[in-house]
Symmetry: C2
Subunit: 473 residues, 2 copies
Amino acid sequence: MTAASQLASVLERVDADFDKSLERLFTLLRIKSISADPAFTGDCRKAADHLASDIATIGFDTKVLPTAGHPALIGKSNGAGPANKSGNGAHVLFYGHYDVQPVDPLDLWHRPPFEPVVTDHADGRKIIVARGAEDDKGQLMTFVEACRAWKNVTGALPLDVTILIEGEEEIGSKNFGPFLEQHKSDLKADFALVCDTGMWDQNTPAITTSLRGLVYEEVIIKAANRDLHSGIFGGGAQNPIRVLTRILGGIHDDNGHITIPGFYDGVKDLPPDIRKQWEKLNLTPDAFLKPIGLSLPAGEKDRLLIEQLSSRPTADINGIVGGYTGEGSKTVIPAQASAKISFRLVEGQDPAKIRKAFRDYVAARVPADCKVEFLDHAGAPAIALDWGMKPLAAAKRALTDEWGKDALLIGSGASIPIVADFKRTLGLDTVLIGFGLEDDNIHSPNEKYDLRSFHKGIRSWVRILAAFADTPR
Amino acid sequence: MTAASQLASVLERVDADFDKSLERLFTLLRIKSISADPAFTGDCRKAADHLASDIATIGFDTKVLPTAGHPALIGKSNGAGPANKSGNGAHVLFYGHYDVQPVDPLDLWHRPPFEPVVTDHADGRKIIVARGAEDDKGQLMTFVEACRAWKNVTGALPLDVTILIEGEEEIGSKNFGPFLEQHKSDLKADFALVCDTGMWDQNTPAITTSLRGLVYEEVIIKAANRDLHSGIFGGGAQNPIRVLTRILGGIHDDNGHITIPGFYDGVKDLPPDIRKQWEKLNLTPDAFLKPIGLSLPAGEKDRLLIEQLSSRPTADINGIVGGYTGEGSKTVIPAQASAKISFRLVEGQDPAKIRKAFRDYVAARVPADCKVEFLDHAGAPAIALDWGMKPLAAAKRALTDEWGKDALLIGSGASIPIVADFKRTLGLDTVLIGFGLEDDNIHSPNEKYDLRSFHKGIRSWVRILAAFADTPR
């Protein structure tokens, strides 16, 4: 029996059991697994334990394993599949992450972020609202629920599956490289699947074939040995906020170019045929920026908006703080000020070189009587996938079948450092498929996941697993 | 009997009662009268009530009076003085403020800020440590205790005194102008005294004859209608921290000049004779900046350090905040960012014009799809006193007698907006005398007041009151 012949029954089961799938997602969403904040270390552990027992109910051998940070879990379907004994099926390694972003500013949430609900979007769509509803709990559960449906209907999975879920993606997956190295032999597979990306739009599925890299730095400027009164010392004593704003304010020029020497070294222009394809996609400021209340592309003026968002490197200040930030006024010159700055990198840029270029740029601009300190929060190169790899075509067909619209191959502006690790450590290529939408508010208050994304996401994976099972390795 | 003949007994009483004076100061220091934070509104009221009853014990008629913000109090010595009936004595209006600055960052305090102690400075000086120890509770109590000593020894004050204490000096005295207007007839006097300034150094008393003005603005930049993921939106969507740092980073040029068009309009150069005097004072970076851990004057490169600090206008960013400021990293593009900026003004600059010039400067640099909002936290012009006014000479003699060193006439970089209001509303000139030192950490953690400043400050006022009483009006 081929997987294809069982497909209809499995899809039916997805529909019939959808309420239970949703309930299981809600249980996961209620766990406050914020990896960035040490106060939630116990909740991260809880999320790992919960997922391990949940996946065990589908017949996976699961274990929660320590890392230098939050734990990861590995589940193996050994013995549970393959259902079809044709021997053709690949062995896939599925990756997701149970950790979520911090929830501040909390006062902008319409409901408590860890009390998930299904509610109505302004335009009538049903949406699941909670921190992690999309990123990545909702997305990873589309795959888990697809496996469950296969198991429930056929007693097995259509191919061998290893599920790998980590808890530090939102803080740069720093400890995950060593973890992969350590568990290498347990993670053998033909290729990897990641469900942490988006669709092209509400109706058009997509496979992501390039990802930007990331360098995330914190810079701390220290001036006087204590806070000073700006009346007595103002004009004579250096102000670290002045130093910091002057440095950061100079990172972009009037045309949106980044001024750090060497920043664009190795960055290639789009191949003319790709640029032509992208031009056709017609991503206008009106379509992309209007929904978020903006109208002017902020990137390099001589580039398409879609290039600014996916094929060009960026610099963004993600946070800044110094001095008095309470209500009213205080005439203080603070002793220090700090900022968090991240760079999205594209193919050809080396994270270590970019970090050094930034640090040199800053250090050269700090007055001789001030000090500067740097913290390294993350670093990962950009990823470009092989458009010709076999599973891509199978997945594209399956997605097109489910959504009734041709699945697009697209570039993403986001960074998923793990993809580089899979290649480097495990020798695996990765297929990136996800059902997120631009208005999901991930990393923001009121994060949501379309109910349709969750439902058709599960159905998509059911189809993709069948397609992989029937594709010769 | 002249005041001078009673002076020795009154000074003796100050010394004998000093422990009690200190106890009374501690009682005031324990009240958490932080005017900037609405959470402490009750404490501000408590401070006003406490001072009113304390001053009443010296025979003042006192009343606590409402303003549009925190209450003020007026105490009048009517009937309590003058002790000498020569009829020569002036009527003085003494001003102080009971409100204090916020205490953050609290973790930098070595002790709780509202639990005053006398302790040892590293160099052996005895110091009083608490928020407000100097600014302005310690300073205003030097005057109150001087009045008490006169009353205790002679049964009366040597001249008529009105004490006026407000509770919003640290937040710009916004409601105090209307209050003065309303209580004008109750506040008649020959001149005003303010104890909120400093000495030249530990051994050299000073009278401040010029004060910088102040314009304090808050600027809020708003970009997208929500926080965004910097991977998905980075490069295409505007980042309000980028906008804010770019604008604020451009306020000073490489030479420390402020670039806001029209900022220096009306600013005069120092008269050559004053500049010569100031050069002689030899205020070196080593003497002034080294104690605070700095070495390079941060102001206009073509000016003396003492000019940068007192006769030249400044721009300082007192606070900035936007995006993620917690531990670790978050790849967010925030919806807004804000900063607090204050300008110290000198003679010739109009606060309203400076505020407008700043707002125009900012508005011209905000991208068309972002919004900017401004909050006005304070505005007051610079003050230059008449060096020839009579009480100045009397006060200078009294200070010189107490400290055994010639009292200097100096300019201060700080702003005391009330001085302009006294002139405008009450027609009064002000004599500014205080016993603060540069290392008092006012507005900072571990604020202190030298025990000697408190003690000799009381003695100084005892002498100054005698000198005023014996000076023909």
